[in-house]
Symmetry: C2
Amino acid sequence: MSSEFKSVAIIGLGLIGSSIARGVREYMPDMRVTGFDASDAARAESRDLGFCHNVMDDAAAAVTDADLVILAVPVGRMADAARAIAPGLRNDAIISDVGSSKASVADMLRSVLPNHVIIPAHPVAGTENSGPAAGFASLFEQRWCIITPRGGDNAEAVQKLATFWQALGAKVEEMDARHHDLVLAVTSHLPHLIAYTIVGTASELEEVTESEVIKYSAGGFRDFTRIAASDPVMWRDIFLNNKDAVLGTLQRFNEDLTGLQQAIRKGDGEKLEAWFTRTRKIRRSIIDEGQDDPAPNFGRRHS
Amino acid sequence: MSSEFKSVAIIGLGLIGSSIARGVREYMPDMRVTGFDASDAARAESRDLGFCHNVMDDAAAAVTDADLVILAVPVGRMADAARAIAPGLRNDAIISDVGSSKASVADMLRSVLPNHVIIPAHPVAGTENSGPAAGFASLFEQRWCIITPRGGDNAEAVQKLATFWQALGAKVEEMDARHHDLVLAVTSHLPHLIAYTIVGTASELEEVTESEVIKYSAGGFRDFTRIAASDPVMWRDIFLNNKDAVLGTLQRFNEDLTGLQQAIRKGDGEKLEAWFTRTRKIRRSIIDEGQDDPAPNFGRRHS
């Protein structure tokens, strides 16, 4: 699959940005890839790794040739990034991003860059690692990329962006930005909040030492530590930018947790067993949909 | 490494029991393995799989030759299993179990079998799968097995049991039963309760369909579904048998969650970032201790 874009500029060369760059080099070899990162160290590392044709020291200079510009910075830094590229943008450049919350970011981008076509996107993919060295070309394979255009947005630009993501291996779906934020609050943001919480709780108890928590983590705890190792700044910004959806979903979680807590206190084994039987089925559906490894323990190696 | 036991009887041939049987056959080939399961189907399946020398149709008959008897049934069925084996036990047989909660099970076993040496144990290992076909010989490799003898318990029997578990590949630690229950409430029981809760919550929202939850689960949610696919009866029993420790730990979790909820509501990015930075370090320690795969995403395969 090829793309109609000739030159992509990637602003932010962390896990996601550097994976896009690597994917373009591998799957769309005719396209030119220019990169920029606000961090001197990340620019130097990216030059060494060589996944861009060119890494520039200035954001505006990085976008001058690009017909597609992708902002791959933490959600809280999108506004600065948009202002920084503005002076260098081609009039016909399409601007996209990869932020995990979409409604507030899209509003901001449209206000900072009012004369450009803005097509927000969110590839639902990642790992717990960060930085230019963490990326890899196949990160988006079989994962969904959600594009959130406004009604009336340039349909041709939406199609071109969808084709670009498909060329990276992703499956593409269009969605309303506010609905996206609700869906991701459930499938991503709440799980991260819960994982961050429990890992923090477990490491601060008086009665159980941190060393015990680490040794016996194979009982289930270790699963949560992967998510709770995700980038702190990225996640701080997501929670602050998708506040309402996260807090609403959290309220539902709290109600359910209180219900199970009461069932344990009262010794209501029937309620517990029925609940646990229902949740078992969901995993089967996720595996059938190709979104997880069917091997036990995620196929982990043990030695 | 060899064991001083000559003949082991395994009562309950699910994931754990059948993994022990397979491990004995592989690592202690001189030992005789006799099995029993209360389910006709599990006995038939176990005979087909052939991991025991002999699968008996009666629990008491299964233990007549055994110098080591291991109860590998859900915690709530331990009392029935102990009563069922009692008529067949050799006087010098050592009785152990693999339950995830130890204090209440140990008290019960000592009361049902007052004339036998009882040495409770808990291998902190498992997968989300259940049943005789789910087991494998290497399940306990590099995992901890916690033995919880009482002060004054037969030291030679404790040592023999420790050597048995080491021969299966486990690392062995002795611990007070009540402290075990507190540690496992943190590293295993609370994580399971939280995972069961969130998977149930996510699949019952009105605004987001179950199909959306499944499609976009790679954002983090899918990690929780593995744990929430664990055996419903086993986990019902664990929560009912380790109620106080689970509820105590849950209270601490709820306090921390309320704190992060307030930070999101107030926009306190500093608190969020500091918390998320702290939790990131725990994962590094778990990997360094050999309790998880260092590869991103647990080393999951994606296609």
